[in-house]
């Protein structure tokens, strides 16, 4: 895909043959990076990530702004802290993170089945009902 952006040089198509979803995601990312407040939003994201809170078992939590990297739970939907995880690294190179999943969160799915997964606590904030 040609790029009418800053460099003028044709952009390398890193996603030739990739599934449409991956291409769309990359195109959207490229679009974001061109926006004037992209750098400011990066700083905001870092501030969100760095404002770490501590949670106890039984606390309700939700994703912080910009911090949702998985489909579950939804933005603004609560999950419950089930346990503190053992701190082993669940990060995957595809996701590009080396985060430590230090809490286990539980949520009910559409069939009212309770699931538990480890998450990095730095991505979550309190939820009050």
């Amino acid at each position: 895909m040609s790029d009418s952006g800053d460099s003028g040089a044709p952009e390398v198509d890193d996603f030739a043959g990739a599934p449409d979803a991956a291409r769309r995601q990359f195109d959207a990312y490229r679009q974001r990076t061109r926006e004037t407040d992209y750098a400011e939003r990066l700083r905001t994201a870092l501030a969100e990530y760095q404002s770490v809170e501590s949670f106890d078992v039984g606390d309700l939590v939700q994703w912080k702004r910009y911090m949702r990297t998985r489909p579950y739970p939804l933005n603004g939907a609560p999950a419950i802290v089930v346990a503190r995880a053992n701190g082993h690294d669940q990060g995957s190179p595809v996701e590009g993170d080396d985060e430590v999943d230090d809490i286990v969160l539980g949520f009910l799915d559409g069939d009212d089945q309770f699931h538990m997964f480890p998450f990095p606590s730095a991505r979550f904030t309190r939820y009050l009902d």
Partner: protein
């Protein structure tokens, strides 16, 4: 100049999980907290927060406190509506910035600040963006029942900053396509009660028929949704024969209807369709009334034609059936 710091807002969040709305800001001036009516800073608009009223204030965490500009109110969006927006986000770029809104810890709300006018504009732009998606969805039965139709409908309903005629007609169209006759009728009644340009529920249904005809003309709404009712059982054969020997005419909403001597059979077939959920289309009682009246009007015209064409013998239509 004394800095005005936004520290919270006053609003009832309960029951608003699927809503987007604005709230009065609470600002701190020289260590005292005030509710600022419409976000204004003049003395007349500032009401000091007392110990009794403090319980109504939603307070942001300290790291979220920010300078407050005069005229800005707090914009809030509920968790459910955020979820709906997330699910169709690529289709609604106008709403992408909702992701930038700050998370509030209570009930999953997110918030930002701005003028009431700007929020109205944002909501209207978003409604205009989602309306074509909704109209496409209602023309597709799968999309309507198992796809994103419901999400589009909720977005359209909740994002709309004003309940105007277009709002009610679009909602009624959605209910029509779902065959949810009660809600469609309620929408007609509400529209008649709220809008000055709608004289009555019957008038609203007329306007809805016109809207459907317009959409059909644009081929936006699938023609399959406007088909003749298919009755089942023994009556269908009677009906088929009745149709095969009867003159049809298309009225304003493109439904064919028949004239004169076979009216009873047609009415029976419709009643059968009404009670048979396998029917592709269902005519509600008020539609039957409308149809009767329009049939009479058009029927009279055809009657005159037939008088001329068939040895001045009028087509028989009993007064009883006409009601």
């Amino acid at each position: 100049m004394t800095q005005k710091l936004l520290i919270g807002f006053v609003a009832d969040l309960n029951g608003n999980k699927n809503a987007i709305f604005s709230a009065e800001p609470v600002i701190r001036v020289d260590g005292t907290d005030y509710l600022a009516h419409n976000g204004r800073h003049d003395a007349a608009s500032l009401v000091a927060i007392t110990a009794e009223t403090a319980t109504y204030v939603h307070r942001f965490r300290e790291s979220s406190h920010r300078p407050h500009a005069s005229g800005d109110v707090v914009w809030l969006i509920g968790a459910s509506l955020r979820g709906s927006i997330d699910s169709v986000n690529p289709l609604l770029p106008v709403l992408r910035r909702v992701r930038d809104w700050e998370t509030y810890e209570v009930q999953g709300f997110a918030w930002t600040t701005g003028s009431r006018t700007a929020l109205y504009d944002l909501r209207m732009q978003a409604r205009n963006a989602v309306q074509p998606l909704l109209l496409s969805a209602v023309a597709d039965d799968m999309e309507l029942r198992a796809g994103d139709g419901r999400t589009y409908f909720e977005l359209f309903s909740e994002l709309s900053p004003v309940e105007d005629l277009d709002y009610f007609l679009t909602r009624a169209l959605y209910y029509r396509q779902l065959r949810d006759l009660n809600r469609e009728e309620l929408t007609a009644v509400y529209a008649a009660g709220i809008l000055r340009q709608v004289r009555s529920a019957r008038h609203f249904r007329k306007l809805l028929h016109r809207r459907i005809a317009d959409l059909n003309a644009e081929r936006v709404v699938s023609a399959s949704t406007r088909t003749v009712p298919i009755a089942t059982g023994a009556m269908s054969e009677y009906w088929r024969q009745a149709f095969s020997s009867t003159l049809f005419i298309s009225n304003f909403d493109t439904r064919p209807f028949r004239l004169s001597s076979q009216e009873h059979a047609l009415r029976m077939a419709h009643l059968e369709a009404l009670t048979d959920r396998r029917a592709l289309d269902v005519w509600s009682p008020w539609e039957l009334e409308d149809r009767d009246r329009d049939r009479d009007r058009v029927g009279n015209r055809l009657h005159a034609v037939e008088v001329g064409q068939h040895l001045r013998t009028p087509t028989v239509t009993s007064d009883e059936e006409r009601g």
